[in-house]
Structure formats: structure tokens, C-alpha cells
């Protein structure tokens, strides 16, 4: 099977982007990725758009994206895996090349969540569980689901609200160095702890924002990748897994079973262990999710996520730097775009192009952990400098 590499990356500014339409927003990252790859857009044979939709006016978004960017006669589709739609799009692009169907393919992650009012966006996300048993009578929101994980984790392992606040402080610290981030300001633990309760114990500063944004990656087959660039970033493996729609059917509330399973599959296929990873982007849609991700991915033992963070091991200089682009928390979380955005960041890190938030790269391996819903889907992608 041919190797598949990321040869072009593009990323829009994340935030409230009511200055652009959905197609204009997608164009920003598509144009960036095409320029970065140094190709003619006509060379792209397959375009997969990862987007959840419902909060913007277009119902069939891939078509308006392709039309606006002049991508004609391409194999195309929109894919949905909730907040992991971006990784699902990358997987589809990857498969189109690995199968021999395409030589160059593009994955576009796209979301525009601020065209509806905030509480409507909260509702559309809250309906992302098992509707009849969780929403119709009980009005669950996304913060509520993750708050349930937080309560269980705090009860079992002694994790505190202050530990959660520390995740937000780290995110904002690195976000302050990322010109494409929604929030580029440092915050303090006190500020995070005193913010409004959204769904106890989670507060406003425990939550990623409602965001607009797009990100794109161009993938190429082995021979083409080597011709196009001296720094192809190889997709070594993609581990995918799933869990129940309904929270009441989960085995545990202190971690995500889908993340444990997806990471095992990804490590095994790439023939690596978690200790080989130089830099990672994990799905910090809420602060508790980042701590659980450390544990689910094997960066530390179960229950020791807060300690790993407190010891500074997930910052530059630590054992495993995580979310050096500000994470979903500070960079923003346009849900369909997030997975692709993570691929863009890890590609930059492995290329050595991350500037003052560059992680030291020893083994040449980076990891993307992208969760859809409350652990409904999980994709773990291992990226590498070496084929």
C-alpha cells in the first residue's frame, strides 16, 4: 500500500466570523493549503468536507464549498462524526489515496456556529446524544454531559475545580501565541474559577467557545508527496472507535472507552507506544476532557491526569507537550473544523514551523486525538516525519 502524507496545510482565523459566508470561510483554508502544497487546484481529485451543520443556512455544504473554490468534477461528500468530523474527513481522504483511487485528495473541516443565537447552538449540541432519553425530557447540554464526567472523576480521583481551571490557563497561555486563535489572552486560575457556572462543576472558562472556522489539509500518495515537498508529514495510522449514544449505557464516567480503544488501534498500527509521542493535540472541548485524554491515551496512569498537568509535563519542556496552539479551549472549536485544525497544528510542529510555541521533536512523532460527541466517536491519528 502506498504511504499517504500531508503535503499542504491551510487554516482560517477562528472566532466569530460573521464577516464571511460558509463558502468564503472554507476558501480561506483551501487557498492556504493549495498554496502551501504548491499544486494547481485541478490536481485535487477528491474533496471531503467534515461539517456537522444545522447552525448555518446551507444544507449541502460540500457543494457550495467546491463551487466557490472552483473545484470541479471531484469525488466529493460531506462527512459527519460530530466534533470528530474533521478527522473523519481526513480518514476519507486518506482512504481515497491508500485505495489507489486518488493521487491527491483534500480534507476540509468547516463549521459556522454563530449564525444562530447562542442558546440555539447549545440546544443543537445538546441534542447530540440519544434524543428521546436525554434531551426531550431532561434538556441535557454538552456541558452537562462533560460535567457528569467531571463529577465522577473528582469523586473517584480527587481531581479539583482548580485542576480543571489549570487546563484553561495552559490553553490560554499557548492561545496567546497563536494569531489564528479565537482567544489570545492569558487568564488566571482565579478568573477561571470565578466565571459563570454553565453546568456545575463546569464554568464558562472550562468550556471551549462557540466558533466559526475552517482548516484544510492536502494529502498525496508516496511518490507524489516526495516530489512535492521535502517535509511530507506521513499519516502512520488512524485508529477509530465508538461508544453508546446514550450516556446511561457507558461502562465508566471517568474516561472515554472509544478513546482508549482508538488509541490502542493507532499505536498498534503505527508500531509505537505513547512514550514515543513528541507532541499531541487532544480534544479539550471541556477542561475535564483534556485530563481524561492524558489518561485514555496512556500519557499517564488512570486518575493521574491532574498531576501530569500540575507537574508541567504537558507544557513545552515537559514529557509530552499538549495543545500548543491553544487547544479547542482558546483556539476555538468550530466542531467540524477542529480535527483538521489539529492535523494542521501537528504538521506545523513536526515540520518545525511552530515558532515560539514549537515543541522539541525527538522521535518525529505527533498525535491527534479527536473526540466526537461525548465519546460517541474517537479518532486517533499518528503523524510522523518518517514514512
Amino acid at each position: 500500500m502506498t504511504g499517504v502524507a500531508i503535503v499542504g496545510i491551510g487554516h482560517s482565523k477562528f472566532g466569530r466570523r460573521n464577516d464571511v459566508s460558509i463558502a468564503e470561510l472554507a476558501f480561506e483554508s483551501i487557498h492556504g493549503a493549495v498554496e502551501d502544497a504548491g499544486i494547481d487546484k485541478k490536481q485535487i481529485q477528491n474533496v471531503t468536507v467534515g461539517s456537522v451543520g444545522g447552525w448555518y443556512e446551507e444544507n449541502v455544504p460540500a457543494t457550495v464549498v467546491n463551487e466557490y473554490a472552483g473545484l470541479e468534477r471531484v469525488g466529493s461528500m460531506r462527512v459527519e462524526a460530530a466534533c470528530a468530523s474533521g478527522s473523519a474527513a481526513v480518514k476519507n481522504a486518506y482512504l481515497s489515496i491508500a485505495s489507489g483511487e486518488a493521487d491527491i485528495a483534500m480534507a476540509v473541516g468547516l463549521e459556522k456556529m454563530t449564525e444562530v443565537d447562542t442558546l440555539t447552538a447549545v440546544e443543537l449540541m445538546g441534542r447530540g446524544g440519544s434524543y428521546l432519553w436525554e434531551f426531550e425530557n431532561f434538556g441535557m447540554t454538552f456541558a452537562s454531559y462533560y460535567a457528569m464526567f467531571a463529577v465522577a472523576h473528582m469523586n473517584r480521583f480527587g481531581t479539583t475545580e482548580e485542576d480543571l481551571a489549570r487546563v484553561a490557563v495552559k490553553a490560554h497561555h499557548y492561545g496567546s501565541m497563536n494569531p489564528l486563535a479565537q482567544f489570545q489572552k492569558e487568564i488566571t486560575i482565579e478568573k477561571a474559577l470565578s466565571s459563570q457556572v454553565v453546568s456545575w462543576p463546569l464554568k464558562l472558562y472550562d468550556a471551549s467557545p462557540i466558533s466559526d472556522g475552517s482548516a484544510a489539509v492536502i494529502l498525496a500518495s508516496e511518490d507524489t508527496a516526495r516530489k512535492l515537498t521535502d517535509t511530507p508529514i506521513w499519516i502512520r495510522s488512524i485508529g477509530a472507535s465508538s461508544d453508546s449514544a446514550d450516556m446511561s449505557r457507558r461502562d465508566s464516567y471517568v474516561g472515554l472507552g472509544a478513546a482508549v480503544d482508538a488509541s490502542r488501534k493507532a499505536y498498534s498500527a503505527a508500531k509505537i507506544g505513547p512514550e514515543m509521542v513528541d507532541v499531541a493535540n487532544v480534544h479539550d472541548c471541556f477542561t475535564i476532557a483534556e485530563l481524561m485524554a492524558y489518561e485514555d491515551l496512556g500519557f499517564c496512569a488512570k486518575g493521574e491526569g491532574a498531576k501530569l498537568l500540575r507537574d508541567g509535563q504537558t507544557m513545552i519542556g515537559g514529557k509530552i507537550p499538549v495543545n500548543l496552539d491553544g487547544g479547542l479551549k482558546a483556539k476555538g472549536h468550530p466542531v467540524g473544523a477542529s480535527g483538521v485544525s489539529m492535523m494542521v497544528e501537528i504538521s506545523k510542529q513536526l515540520r518545525g514551523e511552530a515558532g515560539k510555541r514549537q515543541a522539541p521533536i525527538k522521535n518525529g512523532i505527533g498525535l491527534v486525538h479527536n473526540v466526537g460527541g461525548t465519546g460517541h466517536y474517537c479518532y486517533v491519528t499518528v503523524l510522523s516525519r518518517k514514512r
Binding site: 440555539t120 432519553w133 431532561f138 441535557m140 447540554t141 452537562s144 456545575w200 446514550d246 450516556m247 446511561s248
Partner: protein, 144 residues
Amino acid sequence: MESEPLTLHSRKSLNLRYNVPISKTSRFWDGLKEGKFVTTKCKSCGEVSFPPQADCPKCMSGEAEWVDMGTDGELLTFTYVQVTPTSFVESDPYTVAVCRLPGGQKVLAWTEGLTREQLKVGMKLRLEARTRSEGSPYYVFVLR
């Protein structure tokens, strides 16, 4: 100051309401009206499911019977929802819990008559049926 970008406020609005089929699980909702909590048990492999479902997720058999699942719950986790979604803006903030029932099934529901501060993981709660003013049944956890 920078002016707000120009947007077109769409004139067309869409009010979505779904007709959710519940005929295959109607015994559950009927049971609630009598204060009973029943769910499905696979006649072939014995798997008990909650939420109830006509087809077995373990062995795929379509033969299910209804069994009583009891009402005694042990609190596994909870939250207090302060920012509520659009269709719950009329509601006061609410507390939602997940409890484990004696048979191992887990149920998610609001708690009633308990403040967030009173809730503790491991405490004993009980399922009770309720009826909304317009007649639709639902269920809550109360102190046991």
C-alpha cells in the same frame, strides 16, 4: 470603533418538530402512567436493555419480553444545569443524575426535591413517575 460586518437576517424561519415513533417501546411509557418501570429483556439471550428496545443489541433477536426493573437507584454522577438550551428556557435550572438500578441498568433523569449540594455520589435515590400538565409521562429521581 469597528462597525459590525453586514449580514442578511434570513427572512425564512423554520420551526422543526419531529414525530418520534414510540410504538415499539409504548409499554415503558404506559407503565409510567401506573407508576411502574419496565424494560425489555431478550427472550433468546436474556440481555436486559435500558433504554428499552425491541431488537436485542447483543444477539440481534427480535423477541423481547417486558420485565420490571425496580426503582432503587445508586447515584453514579450528576450535574446542575444552569445554562439551559432554547427549548428549556422556561424551566428553572435543573439537576440531572445517572443512577444504577439493582439489575445493573443505568438511567438518566432529573432529580426532584434535592439541591445540588445535597447530592453525593453513592447516595440512594428512587425512580418515580411524573406526568406533565399536558399529559405526557416522564420520570425523576427522589430521595429514597
